[in-house]
Symmetry: C2
Subunit: 531 residues, 2 copies
């Protein structure tokens, strides 16, 4: 049974909602947009009465349920140990009736996950495990409706801000690796609790979970070794999709709950990118699509003529405000937009607060505007003698906001070094795009659709990004900013077996391009750093 | 590939050895005998070289192995998480070559268990988890040869001697249940270590394990609830065969090792009985066979005309020396055989030591001889006035060994109460046999073959057992004492997929007869207590 689903425009935000769930009170807006998917979950729900045992009927508990299902013509399910351990108590406390939950992730090998009380709603949990943030969504698996969302910082940040420092940490000892695993597990359980409070359900009503993340997050979460991910040639332990018992990964949901992780493309192109491509509608489209997930590593895919090329490029943490002299995250007081008019900068801050520092979209704007105004040349050098430029202890420096208007009373500035950080970052991204275009043998003008995903990608000013040469010069109408594409993709993988198959196909067919050994990359990278 | 196997007579002991393993030094005698089985293990061994990763070959580690297998035309195996977690380290430390172990337990769904060093022998562990004793065997899975055996007491005995007291203990709290599970797990790991020392191998060379036990032992070992096993109508949580990751049950072998448990027949007819029936050759025979596993509970099966009936009967602990005034286990000094000649008892003790007490086979002999000599009547009353019979604080008492000959200097005796215990025990067994004969509609004389298994069954004097009416009066040649049939069956299940299929078929087709609700049982039981 496949139900048509809809995506509805609501201001700038599109809702991802299957048609059953359009009641006004239950609508839930997700940031950004995703292509709607068919509701075809892997779990099946059976409301059954189970004959209780008696001296004339001595079958075991599991057989009682299985026999009812097979008598209805359903295939015989397997039952895992954690689900078995719950059955005797549940069947007796529920007086031999309830909702039997079966997973049909593998069509030929169904699994009995457990028995919920009569009328109880089975839920699914979708997790986007980012290097910096964790986003989680709760969806009804009887309707596909997303009923709650929650987010938190990735607590592994305490062990290292970026992926490589966490890999180093995990390599120190097995207990370090276990700590990294443990803190994320506890965070996800915390998010699950928060979602369950919002939806007024118990955690054991969650019968299935999906997790997407980059390859390092995926491996650390599963307790897989990451040493080989941190050393050339950076290979994964496994890239196939995994469908496991949730108990195996240590997540306490329904005892027999299942846990799905989509396939990985390569050491630095993870399942989160696969999920984003799904959410962006790549598998169903025949257009030429460029899809980017911008972050500390930027994953880039190019889809053309039914083929798919992907690469990963080290864009660094500048877009998250790191390595920028007065950089900061997009918190209140962060300069997020900059315009240069009539010889002066005007800025917009998060929350309209007095300026404290500059976040990623702000520094991008500032450099774009400064370049257009001639304060920066094509090599990134600041124009000596301009009233806003001076030489300070930080080297050549340009004032964005004078001390009179700032929160601290001191100037908010950017430096030549900051410009260089952005040149490196945008150069890496643009070079990745150019290498993929070369692999496909097309010009940028052939791209029908540019999908920009990720937190930074949602808030960056596309005109600025094009102006500084980070993104190719294409009509603005060809660009789409899709927000948390990985999170949307995770939800789709939770409610649609078709999307799982699409993910498996996509991962099998992708051609991964390793930039570090690409003969033209250094030259293209150098050119791409020009402003 | 099926290899013919042989069973060789060596004195009273038959060897269970596949033909490859007949080198004199490696022969291993198992107590008792078993029907030989074909060597067709579920694990497959592939000696392969694996292409290492490089900048031109960025496949993940798992795919490197899987691709080599599929290129050889083998089906694509799945890999569980614990096996995945080991792969990156192993492949690198073994310099990209080794013996890949794949389980083909499910023909259509092979599993990659791990990679052993080149030339390493993969071993299998067979465990017979008895209520009182645990026996373990180590077999080579490249040849089928049994290379070591070991045994220990079941440490759960500290929590209760019999099955019901352990069920009560487990019901107290989840931590009690976990303690029961934990002590057995540690014992089995200790036995595995002992076997590995004997075979000079590492524990991670064990790639598969099989465990047989009665239903309560099976459930407690797996952490399944047993409350419903201790209350009428005594149903199992699950009776299907289970094939699990060894890591799931907490057993540290090869990280990806598998763990197989054969099917259960009923709450009180467990997988150990199924294993015994396999070892006794029941599935392959067209004879009418009566098979008994005598213990605190005695499981009885009758095979006739291609049909199989089974029951369980509460024979009590008297045969293990419990509930007998001067009863003891078959330890040195235990009277194990008794003859009455010319007005006096003569006894034989374990180890030829001075008599301390009486073990199960001894009390059976004593009562049989005393009955024949007229010291006991058909109701079990002791003959007043006989020189060996007196009335003591223990009631009517018969002296077996005078104080002059005993270890303690005091008489070794049996009492009227002891006789009653044996009457209850043997009555329960005989009544079970009679009910099954009734179900099959045959007389005892139609039985071609009586298989008596279990520790007590191995040492009991068959003539005495027949004489007191515990077993039907058949020619001695129709009886076989097969020793630890359950252990032998466990080994067969380890090395033969055919025996697994036979076990599954047997468990599906068996007709379980519940004696407690059988209308004729009370009457038959009363009659069967007669001596």
């Amino acid at each position: 049974m496949r139900l048509a689903c809809q995506a509805r425009a609501l201001g700038n935000v599109k809702l991802y909602i299957p048609p059953e769930s359009l009641s006004a009170t239950q609508r839930l807006a997700l940031e950004g947009e995703a292509v709607a998917t068919a509701f075809d979950p892997s779990v099946r729900i059976y409301d059954i009465d189970i004959p209780p045992p008696g001296l004339a009927d001595l079958r075991d508990d599991a057989s009682r349920i299985i026999d009812v299902l097979t008598e209805r013509g359903e295939p015989r399910p397997n039952v895992d140990l954690p689900a078995l351990a719950e059955l005797p108590g549940r069947l007796r406390s529920q007086r031999w009736s309830g909702r039997v939950i079966v997973s049909r992730h593998e069509e030929n090998c169904p699994r009995l996950l457990g028995v919920l009380p009569t009328g109880a709603i089975p839920f699914g949990l979708a997790v986007d495990l980012g290097t910096t943030k964790i986003a989680a969504y709760l969806a009804r698996l009887d309707t596909g409706q997303v009923v709650a969302q929650a987010g938190t910082m990735n607590p592994q940040t305490a062990f290292g801000e970026d992926v490589l420092s966490r890999i180093s940490k995990a390599n120190e000892s097995s207990s370090s690796a276990e700590s990294l695993r443990e803190v994320v597990l506890r965070s996800i359980e915390g998010l699950a609790d928060e979602l369950c409070r919002k939806a007024a359900c118990e955690r054991r009503a969650i019968v299935e979970a999906v997790l997407v993340g980059n390859t390092a997050m995926h491996h650390l979460f599963l307790g897989l070794p990451v040493r080989q991910l941190g050393e050339a040639p950076y290979v994964a332990a496994v890239s196939d999709p995994l469908e496991l018992a949730a108990a195996t990964v240590g997540l306490e949901l329904l005892a027999g709950a299942r846990f799905y992780l989509p396939p990985i493309i390569a050491g630095f192109v993870g399942a989160d990118h696969v999920a984003m491509l799904l959410a962006a509608g790549v598998p169903a489209s025949s257009d030429t699509i460029l899809a980017l997930d911008i972050g500390t590593n930027t994953e880039i895919s190019l889809i053309h003529g039914g083929e798919l090329w992907s690469c990963s490029t080290a864009s660094g943490p500048a877009f998250e405000g790191a390595h920028i002299r007065q950089g900061m995250r997009a918190a209140p007081g962060a300069i997020e937009h900059v315009r240069y008019l009539e010889g002066a900068f005007s800025v917009q801050t998060v929350g309209g607060e007095a300026p404290i520092g500059i976040c990623g979209s702000g520094i991008l704007d500032a450099i774009s505007e400064a370049r257009k105004a001639g304060l920066i040349d094509h090599r990134g050098a600041l124009a000596r003698g301009h009233p806003l430029v001076s030489h300070t202890d930080w080297g050549p420096t340009c004032v964005l906001v004078g001390g009179d208007d700032s929160e601290s009373g001191k100037d908010v500035v950017f430096t030549r070094s900051d410009v260089n950080e952005i040149q490196l970052a945008k150069g890496a991204i643009r070079a990745g795009i150019e290498v993929l275009l070369g692999a496909a043998g097309i010009e940028a003008s052939a791209i029908d659709d540019v999908v920009v995903a990720g937190a930074f990608g949602t808030y960056l000013d596309l005109d600025s990004a094009v102006s500084i040469g980070m993104l190719p010069p294409l009509p603005r109408s060809r660009y789409r900013q899709v927000g948390n594409g990985a999170g949307h993709g995770a939800i789709q993988l939770l409610v649609s077996r078709g999307q799982r198959l699409a993910a498996h196909k996509l991962a099998r067919e992708v051609r991964y391009v390793e930039l570090t050994v690409h003969p033209d990359f250094p030259e293209i990278f150098m050119q791409s750093m020009t402003l």
